[in-house]
Every structure is written in structure tokens, then in C-alpha cells.
């Protein structure tokens, strides 16, 4: 393994890291608005991607229909999770929504295993053209597609948050729920819509993970959940730019560790990376301002 190989590993990792960024943004968005963690988020995102497969497999739609169906389905699942795990549970008990979303994580995973009989499912690639050569380095075309689509999804989300009335309402509720209610915003509606937004984003992430790995299996959801949460912590809970940077960082670091050691040891070093951040920067890269309430 030479220098070129390590740089190549980092490039591949950065391209795939955008999917981690998307999952991290989803976690962080719900945390920012409700101050709760939706543990079932990554599993639900992958479940959305599974739903997309129903398009070509069951309804014999063209292959590209996988992607839009995945995204819409994940949005719907996001809203259902809001109803089942948050809507009717009092905000005062912090453990209850944590536990209910963990229950939902198990439920979603089991439904997926049940529907697919536990078999890995092939997932179409976005684009299977030739890789682009840049001197000594190679850019995998399919990963580049994943990177660009994820980037577009992030830009759309940021426009939604900072350029629309809905986004303004979301940010208002995140800052001060009581004051937002006094101004006539319906808390439940905004919370529900936040879940739909994060769900749609998760659908993009799930589809991109499926497209870059080439298949979906029930084993992926645990890893993605842990990686997504690590990204959220390293970036700082509630910080969207933090999640984006941390996703790229984790993606690159993970691929570098894999190139230096091997696949089975790779994730140990990612966890150690998290602990380094917890010791040195416990509030994350982009810590949210203190004392907002």
C-alpha cells in the first residue's frame, strides 16, 4: 500500500461519506426541533429504499422508478414513526420516546426481514459508466453520482429551511417552542413535517447507500444507525453543517482505516475516533450555542 492508494481510499470514502452526512442530518434535524433522538431513523431510511424495490419487482415499473419511490416511501414512514413514537407520548418523559423508537427500530428491521425472507436484495446503481481518471487517481462514476445527488438533497434541504415559511416555522420551533406556539404555529404540525422532511432525506440516503453498495441487506441497518449517530455526535447535536462535515470525515476515515488494516477492524477505529472527539470536543465540531432556553 503506497501513498497513492491511501489518497484513493480517502477519495472513495469522501464520496460515500455524503450518505453518512444525510443520515446524520436526519438525526440532527429531529434533535434540533424536538430535542429527542429518533433511533429508528436509519432503519426507516433503509426500509424506504426497500419499498422502492417494490416498484420494479412487484409493479413492473422501469428500473429508475426505484429512486423516487424510495424517497416518497421513506417520507411516509417518517410520518408514521412520528405518530407511533412521539405524537401521543408526553414530552416530559425523556426515556419514553427513546425506548419507543428503539422498539420501532426492532419492528422496522423485523418487517424488512419478514418481507424479504432475510435475503439480500440487489439494488440498481445510479450510473454504470466508466470511471473517470484523474492522473493517478480514479473517480468511480457511480460514487460520483451518489455524491452529487446527496449534495443536491442537502442544498434542497437548506433552501427549504432558510428560504421558505415552513423552514422558518421549523427553526422557530427549534429555538423556542412556547414562543413559536404563541405566534400561532401549530407545534404538532411542524414536528410532523420535520419528520416528513427528515424521512425524505433518509429516503435519498437509503437509496444512495443501496446504489453504492449494490444491494440492501438487513445487516446494514445496525451499522448505518451507529455510523449516523457517530456523525451526529462528532458534528455536534443539532448542527446541520456539523453533520455534513462529520459525515465526510467519518466516510474518509473509515475507508482509510480499511485500507490500512482490514474490514473487520475498521469500525473499531471509527468508534475510537468518536471517543477522541468526546474527550477533546465533547460538544462536537460545531457546538450549538449554549443557554438557548
Amino acid at each position: 500500500m503506497g501513498f497513492v492508494d491511501y489518497v484513493q481510499a480517502i477519495i472513495d470514502g469522501l464520496l460515500f461519506g455524503t450518505t453518512y452526512s444525510l443520515i446524520g442530518i436526519g438525526f440532527t434535524l429531529v434533535f434540533g426541533v424536538m430535542h429527542k433522538i429518533n433511533m429508528s431513523y436509519a432503519a426507516a431510511s433503509l426500509a424506504g429504499a426497500y419499498c422502492g424495490l417494490a416498484g420494479p419487482q412487484l409493479l413492473s415499473l422501469p428500473l429508475w422508478s426505484v429512486f423516487p419511490i424510495s424517497i416518497v416511501a421513506a417520507g411516509v414512514i417518517g410520518y408514521l414513526i412520528y405518530l407511533a413514537c412521539f405524537r401521543f407520548i408526553p414530552l416530559a418523559s425523556p426515556l419514553a420516546p427513546l425506548m419507543s423508537t428503539v422498539g420501532m427500530l426492532l419492528l422496522v428491521d423485523e418487517i424488512v426481514v419478514h418481507a424479504t425472507a432475510g435475503m439480500p436484495q440487489n439494488y440498481p446503481a445510479i450510473y454504470d459508466g466508466d470511471p473517470i481518471e484523474l492522473g493517478a487517481f480514479i473517480l468511480r462514476a457511480d460514487l460520483l453520482g451518489v455524491f452529487l445527488i446527496s449534495l443536491v438533497a442537502m442544498v434542497v434541504l437548506l433552501l427549504l429551511l432558510y428560504r421558505t415559511r415552513l423552514g422558518m416555522a421549523t427553526r422557530a420551533v427549534a429555538q423556542q417552542p412556547v414562543a413559536a406556539q404563541l405566534c400561532g404555529m401549530r407545534l404538532q404540525a411542524v414536528n410532523g413535517l420535520t419528520f416528513v422532511m427528515s424521512g425524505l432525506l433518509g429516503g435519498v440516503a437509503g437509496a444512495m447507500i443501496g446504489a453504492s453498495v449494490g444491494m440492501l441487506s438487513p445487516l446494514i441497518s445496525g451499522t448505518i444507525t451507529v455510523k449516523g449517530l457517530i456523525v451526529t455526535v462528532i458534528g455536534g447535536l443539532g448542527s446541520i453543517p456539523g453533520a455534513i462535515v462529520a459525515g465526510l470525515l467519518v466516510g474518509a476515515a473509515e475507508n482509510l482505516f480499511q485500507a490500512m488494516r482490514n474490514v473487520t477492524e475498521r469500525d473499531i477505529y471509527v468508534m475510537l475516533l468518536l471517543f477522541v472527539f468526546l474527550v477533546l470536543r465533547p460538544n462536537g465540531l460545531f457546538a450549538a450555542g449554549r443557554g438557548r432556553d
Binding site: S100, L106, L107, E110, I230, D267, I268, M271, L278, P282
Partner: protein
């Protein structure tokens, strides 16, 4: 009959991991690292009895101490963060432990066969119970003696000054700090005690199954660990034990006739239970009502 003995043993070590999470939850911290401590206990105890030829009881205590030391070490950086950050940090630690054992090889030849942990294949031939002629019934009594000892100690702890300190930190950190409690010391102490109990549980588990591998100690086990005290309510240790019996005895074994659907039901029931009883099955009000009920009955009798 052996089936019921075996079920009682399973309930026993699940009760231990549940109680280990119970102690940590008393201080208001949610730890998903308990499966990691359970794994450390399992591997340490199994290596001591199989490779070093120790008796089970000192091996168990050593496993408990090893897990407690690890919990203490992890406690300091992890407890710098609070609440949901801690959930994630401990989740990552538990996964790191699991992955460590996934990559951990340490085999020695013993009587012509190689024994010891072997990475992904796990650790086979942990045969202390059969080698010493313990029947299933003996093992069950042993497991429940340990559970009773731990539950009794925690019951006493709940009533002691230390229990009050734990609860004070759990109820309101700011108030606890302003009466002069050292938050970090209290939380790390709770984490250490929890680690010790989980280590004991892991030690018994390893000898019960005779074969352990990294996938036994996954996130699902960590989830079970915190689910028991949360479902049972944090008022006292019996809530946790009732929850373990309910989950393992009824949901896992009792509903076996449902086949695959049982796993679906488990997640759905947690979601439902949290919607209906967000503070646990036995919350403060129920505990008081039960106490009054039993109080009246003892007066009548």
C-alpha cells in the same frame, strides 16, 4: 423439566444485565454499553475457567471486577457528555467491544484440542458446569442465588444514603450539585457498579451457553438491558425483574407458537407500552397503590 430450568437460567442472567442498567438509570443516564460489559465478563470468566483452570466463583468475581474497571475507565470520558450524547457514546463503546472480540484470537492447546476465543468463530467448549457434574437444576439454583444476592444488595442500596444520592442526581443534576454532590463521582460510581453486575451476568451466561461469540453481544442485547428497567419502572428492583420475566418468559418463550411473527410483536409491544405507560409498567403511582394494597392486607392478617 430441563426446559423450564433452562428458561429460569435465561431469565436469571437477563435479570442481572437488566439490574446493571437499572443502577445506571438511577442517575438518569441511559447506557447502551451494558452488552459490552456483559461481553467482557463472559470472555474474561470463560478464559479464566477454561484456559487458566480457575474455579467458577473466583472467575466470576474477576470477570465482574474486569468489567467494572472497564466501566470506570469508559465512564470518565463518556460522562463528560449527558443525555442523548451519552446514549450514542455508550452505544459506540458497546459496538467497539463487540468488534474487538470479533478480532480477538487467543488459543492454547489443551489435551490435544485448541481452546480459547477465535475471532468470528467465537469461544467454544466452556464446559465448567458439565465437567463438575452440575445438573441443570443446580445451575438454576446458582444463577438465582446470584440474582437474589444482587437484587438484595440493590434493594438495600436503594434505601441507603447512597441510593438517595443516586436518585438525587437522576432527578435534578443542578439541585444535586448545589447541595454539594460530586456529579462525576456519583455517575462513574453507578457506572462501575453497573459494570460489575453486568460482568457477573456475562460470566454466568458464558458458562450456561458453553459457546460465546461476538454476535451474542449486539445492540439488541444492549436494548434489552435498558428496556427491562424502563418497562418495569425505576421505583425499585422488582419492576426490572418483573419486566424480565414478562419479556423472556411471556414474550419470547410464551409466544413461540407465533413463529416469525413473535419478533414483529416484540418491537410493536415496546412502542405500545411506551405510548400507554410512558413512565414504565410500575411507575410511582402504581408502586404506591401496590404498597397500600399490601399494607392493608398485612394489617388485616
Amino acid at each position: 423439566m430441563d426446559f423450564y430450568y433452562s428458561l429460569a437460567q435465561i431469565i436469571g442472567f437477563h435479570a442481572l444485565i437488566g439490574l446493571s442498567a437499572y443502577v445506571v438509570l438511577q442517575t438518569g443516564q441511559v447506557s447502551l454499553a451494558q452488552a459490552g460489559f456483559f461481553a467482557i465478563g463472559a470472555y474474561v470468566a470463560a478464559m479464566l475457567t477454561v484456559l487458566a483452570g480457575w474455579h467458577l466463583v473466583p472467575a466470576m468475581l474477576a470477570a465482574g471486577v474486569a468489567a467494572a474497571v472497564m466501566a470506570c475507565i469508559v465512564g470518565f470520558p463518556a460522562l463528560r457528555v449527558r443525555g442523548l450524547m451519552l446514549v450514542i457514546a455508550t452505544l459506540a463503546f458497546g459496538e467497539a467491544v463487540r468488534l474487538f472480540f470479533f478480532n480477538f484470537d487467543y488459543q492454547i492447546a489443551k489435551g490435544g484440542v485448541k481452546v480459547g476465543p477465535l475471532g468470528g468463530e467465537g469461544f467454544r467448549q466452556i464446559r465448567w458446569f458439565p465437567e463438575h457434574g452440575w445438573t441443570s437444576f443446580d445451575v438454576m439454583l446458582f444463577v438465582w442465588a446470584v440474582v437474589a444476592l444482587v437484587a438484595g444488595a440493590l434493594w438495600w442500596m436503594d434505601r441507603s444514603r447512597f441510593g438517595a444520592v443516586l436518585r438525587a442526581v437522576g432527578e435534578d443534576e443542578l439541585a444535586a450539585q448545589s447541595v454539594g454532590l460530586n456529579l462525576t463521582a456519583v455517575k462513574v460510581a453507578a457506572m462501575t457498579i453497573g459494570g460489575f453486575i453486568a460482568g457477573l451476568g456475562g460470566a454466568i451466561y458464558a458458562h450456561y451457553t458453553t459457546h460465546i461469540e461476538h454476535s451474542n453481544f449486539n445492540v439488541l442485547l444492549a436494548t434489552f438491558a435498558i428496556a427491562y428497567p424502563i418497562l418495569g419502572g425505576l421505583r425499585n428492583v422488582f419492576g426490572t425483574i418483573v419486566a424480565v420475566i414478562f419479556v423472556q418468559g411471556f414474550l419470547v418463550e410464551g409466544l413461540r407458537f407465533l413463529g416469525d411473527w413473535r419478533n414483529l410483536l416484540f418491537g410493536a409491544l415496546i412502542v405500545l407500552a411506551m405510548n400507554l405507560r410512558p413512565n414504565g409498567l410500575i411507575d410511582a403511582a402504581t408502586a404506591q397503590r401496590l404498597a397500600r394494597l399490601f399494607g392493608r392486607e398485612t394489617r388485616r392478617a
